[in-house]
């Protein structure tokens, strides 16, 4: 129970930090910021890796683990590349 309380504290503090991080964002950066934050939400890849690597004989669990790692990797790799491309274009314009 102590562990959950510790994790819950982290959760609440990070929620507040997320609110404070974003203040004024110029409209040109709305989409890149959204894409960049989207790539960070791909952090679920860490959980997906742990779930896919667990010891089990169930084919369904293996399949779900594989799907989770695939989708999370797609999110992470695609997310960072897309954000980078958008920012590169933004730079040329200014």
């Amino acid at each position: 129970m102590d562990t959950i309380l510790f994790l819950f504290s982290l959760f609440v503090l990070a929620l507040f930090l997320g609110v404070e991080l974003i203040t004024k964002v110029p409209p040109t950066l709305h989409t890149p910021l959204m894409a960049g934050a989207n790539a960070i939400s791909g952090i679920t890849i860490v959980g997906a890796i742990l779930a896919a690597g667990a010891d089990t004989s169930s084919t369904l669990v293996h399949a779900l683990g594989f799907i989770a790692v695939t989708m999370a990797t797609l999110n992470v790799v695609g997310g960072y590349l897309v954000t980078n491309r958008m920012l590169a274009m933004f730079k040329r314009k200014s």
């Binding site: 609110v19 952090i43 992470v76």
Partner: protein, 279 residues
């Protein structure tokens, strides 16, 4: 790998994510911010791959290769004008990943019959249910946003006048599924039914919203995928998932609000899938 080193690496990754988001809010620092955040992600992934609880690498490597190749090809080939739908697709993929990992760990816990006892057991099932519900809504909602922007389905609002009541009913039904799963964790048909209800809710939340409002919807769904990742962090007892997920959850919500103001839209209408004007 030593658990202390793992946790310190996760802390470093979390700090890099914070600096990354901060950097992305200003034109001067945006490129560096994205690099910092990507570095944080790489550190988190590498450290996790060395985790001693991993017993088989087959499915991990296969998933990393398949997802990495598809993601890279899509990201490099997509036209700049198609970026919003690309982000929607990637976001849906993230939601799907949280859904998949939560379902996998739920079935594993059933297999080993180790949900724990008392409050721990209740919370374990609660986190699984919350993750699959938000993950499923993010997955199907993002797919609708993608389909609308890609003009696979009409961009105009689809649905009927009282659709928000249907959304309300579906929302309550998924909460009922959550409550019943806590009472009876072993009920797998109920588990999949809850997933299905949440998946339908994702569809009905986004279908009534016009194409012009889609960027706001994608920003909101991005916030959801962050919360799904944080909830998944509670399932796995993983600090970096919780920190990064909740950061994206609230920063995404603030960005959604900012975008609503910039586009002169109502946040509550977007939140509850109320029919918007034709876009």
């Amino acid at each position: 790998m030593n658990i202390t080193i793992v946790n310190l690496a996760y802390l470093l990754a979390a700090v890099l994510f914070i600096l990354g988001i901060k950097g992305l809010t200003r034109p001067k620092t945006a490129v560096r911010g994205n690099m910092l955040s990507a570095t944080g992600m790489l550190i988190a992934v590498v450290v996790t791959l060395l985790d001693r609880s991993i017993l088989t690498y087959d499915f991990i490597v296969a998933g990393l290769v398949v997802g990495g190749v598809i993601g890279a090809v899509m990201a490099l080939k997509v036209k700049m004008t198609a970026m919003p739908q690309m982000v929607a697709l990637l976001n849906g993929s993230g939601g799907g990943a949280s859904l998949g990992l939560a379902a996998a760990s739920y079935l594993q816990s059933l297999e080993r019959a180790d949900f724990g006892t008392g409050a721990i057991a209740v919370l374990a099932v609660f986190f699984v249910a919350v993750t699959v519900i938000i993950g499923a809504v993010t997955l199907t909602g993002s797919l609708v946003a993608f389909a609308k922007l890609q003009e696979i389905i009409p961009g105009k609002p689809l649905g009927f006048a009282g659709m928000r009541y249907l959304n309300g009913v579906l929302f309550l039904a998924s909460l009922a599924g959550l409550a019943m799963l806590i009472a009876n964790p072993g009920n797998t048909p109920l588990f999949w039914l809850t997933v299905a209800v949440a998946a339908v809710l994702g569809l009905t939340l986004v279908l009534p919203i016009g194409g012009a409002d889609m960027p706001v919807v994608i920003a909101l769904l991005n916030s959801y995928s962050g919360i799904a990742a944080a909830a998944a962090g509670f399932i796995m007892g993983n600090t970096v998932l919780i920190i990064a997920g909740s950061l994206v959850g609230t920063s995404g919500l603030i960005l959604t609000k900012i975008m609503c103001v910039a586009m002169n839209r109502s946040l509550t209408n977007v939140l509850f899938g109320v029919m918007g004007e034709v876009g």
